[in-house]
């Protein structure tokens, strides 16, 4: 579906990503994890064309995303940044309507089909009762669902989410992740997301990619990633690993580490998150 080849990126001369390559499989959930400042959000910025890579290429269905028409890509791939902005008086329905932008002609009129898709996206994300509320007055969980509805209105085959659970309480975190899982299972939408919570990543992902020190440290299934050695080397935590029988995935609990040096991984530039 998506292929990243030899991607190198940086900010003002500081290298963030050094020659990384990976592939995103169709109809799977792929999750990027890594410590703060590792460059996982930068990868999503490159994918959304918000920041141009210094070198390397990003192929969407074997076409370079920087060479194809923007609207063509927008019909295949939708991206939700971490804390998207919206003018105060836009309603959720207005917002979802903007998801139809890539399908519009220059006149910008919405057709019957567009309205049907807007209604469908609103229904799938269960924001029917909120659709006329202003997005700025919604709670974090509701707002995140409204944004996902907008992304759905794009009818994407690929959905990119940058920390979709940030600032949400635990109930809404799972609500959003379960929605994402449902989009993946029922609508065959390929998902790439950045998550901070490793246990959530282990539970909802088909594949996890670990980014550290400008490189891809390791990639694989959750059970190949969530192990003592990797978590200690990448996140500097000592853990106890358990098996979640209900969801068939590994999970861990951190244990106290007296020797941890909090300055060891500190990096002087922009945070990843």
């Amino acid at each position: 579906m998506l292929k990243i080849n030899n991607l190198t990126m940086g900010y003002e001369g500081i290298r963030i990503l050094d020659n990384i390559s990976f592939e995103v499989e169709k109809n799977k959930i792929t999750t990027l994890i890594g410590p703060n400042g590792c460059g996982k959000s930068t990868i999503l910025k490159a994918l959304s064309r918000a920041k141009k890579p210094e070198s390397g290429e990003i192929l969407l269905e074997s076409e370079d995303i920087y060479k194809v028409n923007e609207k063509t890509i927008a019909k295949i791939m939708s991206i939700l940044p971490q804390s998207p902005k919206v003018p105060d008086d836009f309603s959720a329905r207005d917002l979802v309507g903007y998801g139809r932008y890539p399908y519009m002609n220059w006149m910008g009129r919405l057709t019957k089909k567009d309205y049907d898709i807007i209604d469908w996206a609103i229904k799938e994300t269960k924001i029917e009762s909120l659709q006329h509320r202003q997005v700025s007055t919604m709670s974090g969980g509701e707002r995140q669902r409204a944004w996902i509805a907008m992304a759905l209105a794009q009818q994407p085959q690929l959905l990119l989410l940058d920390e979709p659970t940030t600032y949400l309480d635990i109930c809404h975190q799972f609500e959003v992740l379960e929605l994402v899982e449902r989009l993946n299972k029922e609508m065959d939408i390929t998902v790439v997301m950045v998550l901070h919570d490793l246990n959530q990543a282990a539970r909802y992902s088909d594949k996890i990619i670990v980014v550290k020190d400008e490189k891809i440290y390791k990639e694989g299934k959750p059970e190949e990633i969530i192990n003592k050695k990797l978590l200690e080397e990448v996140f500097d935590i000592r853990v106890k690993i358990f098996k979640d029988e209900d969801n068939d995935c590994p999970y861990f609990l951190p244990i106290k580490n007296k020797e941890r040096n909090i300055y060891k991984n500190k990096r002087p530039f922009e945070k990843c998150s």
């Binding site: 791939m77 008086d89 903007y98 998801g99 992304a151 794009q154």
Partner: protein, 322 residues
């Protein structure tokens, strides 16, 4: 609708009031029926063109301000900020000093100056694409730099630049059909272009990442909008001078009434801008008769307190009502 009505009313009032008061019915007769006579010549030769110039300038500056506030995502952005006004001012000052007898050079020179300044600021703030904040800051820096040059010129040639007062505050004195003919094509083209771009500006308001995800070419959209805004402002400035405040406050007032959907905000603020300009010019002509004040003074005197009122209370009240 209300805005359109206000604009027509403002047009008639402005035509009716002046050194010689002419009743509204006479104004209508003078415009549509009479072909000669005193009223006809006052109304048709002096007041109508001047009012139309005021209206067109109001439209240009309001649209320009609205675009810039959107593109820069900064509520303080206005034509003055991106250096259009100061660039036009510099070019005009130089023209007045070097060719004091060629009045007609003033307008094109101001236009060129305004446009050149915008281009310079655009390229100064270019680094990996345009970042709105960087552009606002370069604009402020360039504006003060140019301001310094203008003031230096004024000190060295105090005798040649009497006309510049009108230019630096903005004045509509003695503006006639010639000026209107110069202005309206730009106003019309600018308005149409702005309306076409309004949906794209809405999407730009959702942030670069979302806009990119929705398939908007961000850099190109931003560049077209900025060029559009500077063309609009430059054409207004070249005719009436460095008129402040209209471009800043009109979009804000409209946003409070209409909301921030640019598809409705642009036409509404064009009409409101035109109305406010016509009313302010009427006040400027009549408040201390027979002396005529530059409209820029009235604009600032009325605009600044009103803007402060909006900042203090008006915004909050509005939010509660919604």
């Amino acid at each position: 609708m209300i805005f359109a009505f206000a604009a027509v009313a403002a047009f008639l009032i402005s035509s009716s009031i002046g050194a010689l008061k002419i009743s509204l019915t006479d104004v209508l007769r003078a415009i549509f029926i009479e072909k000669e006579g005193l009223n006809r010549s006052i109304i048709w030769k002096i007041r109508v063109p001047r009012t139309l110039v005021a209206g067109a300038v109001g439209i240009c500056l309001s649209l320009s301000g609205g675009i810039l506030q959107g593109v820069m995502r900064n509520p303080l952005a206005s034509p003055n900020i991106i250096g259009v006004s100061s660039g036009a001012g510099l070019a005009a000052t130089i023209t007045l000093v070097l060719f004091p007898s060629y009045d007609y050079l003033l307008t094109p020179a101001a236009f060129v100056g305004a446009f050149a300044t915008t281009i310079i600021i655009y390229f100064l703030s270019w680094k990996d694409g345009i970042k709105p904040l960087r552009m606002v800051l370069s604009g402020i820096a360039i504006s003060s730099f140019i301001g310094a040059i203008i003031n230096t010129i004024l000190i060295f040639f105090p005798d040649r630049v009497q006309n510049t007062l009108g230019f630096t505050v903005g004045s509509l004195a003695a503006r006639t059909w010639i000026h209107f003919k110069l202005l309206w094509p730009y106003a019309l083209v600018g308005f149409i272009l702005t309306m076409i771009m309004s949906r794209k500006l809405n999407i730009l308001m959702l942030g670069d990442e979302i806009a990119g995800s929705l398939g908007l070419n961000i850099e190109r959209t931003r560049m077209i909008l900025i060029i559009c805004a500077s063309l609009l402002a430059a054409s207004a400035v070249s005719v009436v001078g460095m008129l402040g405040f209209v471009g800043l406050i009109v979009p804000h007032i409209t946003r409070i009434i209409i909301g921030s959907d640019y598809r409705y905000l642009f036409p509404a603020s064009a009409l409101l801008g035109a109305s406010i300009m016509m009313i302010c010019d009427t006040i400027a002509r009549t408040i201390v008769e027979p002396i005529e004040l530059p409209v820029g003074i009235i604009m600032a005197a009325v605009g600044a307190p009103f803007f402060l009122y909006l900042l203090r209370g008006g915004f909050k009240k509005h939010v509660k009502n919604k």
